[in-house]
Amino acid sequence: MNEPTRDIIAGHGTYAAGMLSALEQIAGRADRFIAVSNADLEPGAIEALLRATIAAHRSRVIFTDLSAGSCTIAARRIQRDQPGLVLVTGAALPTILSYACGGDLLKSVEQGRTALTVVEGKRDP
């Protein structure tokens, strides 16, 4: 039997591993993703790593941390010859969590936008 497909979370440092840890704690769904870090890698190596991960896990979606990040740039290069690949940049936990739990991708992105709020404290009267 084929292994289930897994999408990718990619970014700086341990961003992706941290997301997996949080997903597992909240929903037990870390198994839906593969974590990729750009740490110590030159751009060609980041692209090669992402390509190999996509091929190994038949990934359809890549979530990245920064829209200016090297993983984002690498994913954009891959999209040139793999136009079916979807890239979500600036991804935070609410978006990835919603998607991991079966949410529609665009709705999950919207949920992430909505979750981003500023809450200012109020002094007691």
Binding site: D40, G44, S67, S70, T72, I73, R76
Partner: protein
């Protein structure tokens, strides 16, 4: 303010540049110098996508960068010039000897390179190129982010840079 930072970074436009340096240094513009990128609309669009709206990015070949350098220096905004490799920066410096400081921001691992710091890996030829720059009077330092201390070239080459 002016074009203040001449940075070698194989990732070119990325988080460290746009956010790590961009915000604390209030960078208003980036000059990306790469002959190949300068010839490709697709490559330019790729890097434009990573730059926030308040930051301008311009693209040059080495030749056009030399021609426009005085204009960039006269710009009232703070700016950073980026090359993706040591050779491109060395060619630029050879044609624009008023560049006095070069920052190695990121040259990552590839076959043939040996580690000199956490984010600088060099082939013997690249090391020689940096030493040539220094011998020509250019101050060469390694510094990935503004909060880190700039490591002098000789310290970095001894492998005593940031780990």
């Amino acid at each position: 303010m002016t074009l203040e930072i001449f940075r070698i970074d194989d990732r070119l436009v990325h988080g460290q540049v746009v956010v790590g340096w961009g915000q604390p240094c209030s960078l208003g513009f980036l000059v990306l110098v790469d002959d190949e990128v300068a010839r490709s609309e697709w490559e330019k669009e790729l890097y434009r996508m990573g730059v926030p709206p308040e930051m301008e990015i311009v693209f040059d070949s080495v030749e056009s960068a030399v021609a426009r350098l005085a204009g960039y220096r006269a710009d009232a905004r703070a700016g950073m010039l980026l090359t993706g490799d040591i050779d491109t920066m060395a060619r630029l410096v050879a044609a624009a000897p008023d560049i006095r400081t070069v920052t190695v921001g990121g040259v990552h691992h590839k076959p043939g390179r040996v580690p000199r710091s956490r984010y600088v890996f060099l082939t013997p030829a690249e090391e020689a190129r940096l030493l040539e720059l220094a011998a020509g009077g250019v101050t060469v330092v390694a510094q990935d982010v503004p909060q880190a201390a700039a490591t002098p070239l000789e310290v970095m080459l001894r492998g005593e840079g940031p780990t």
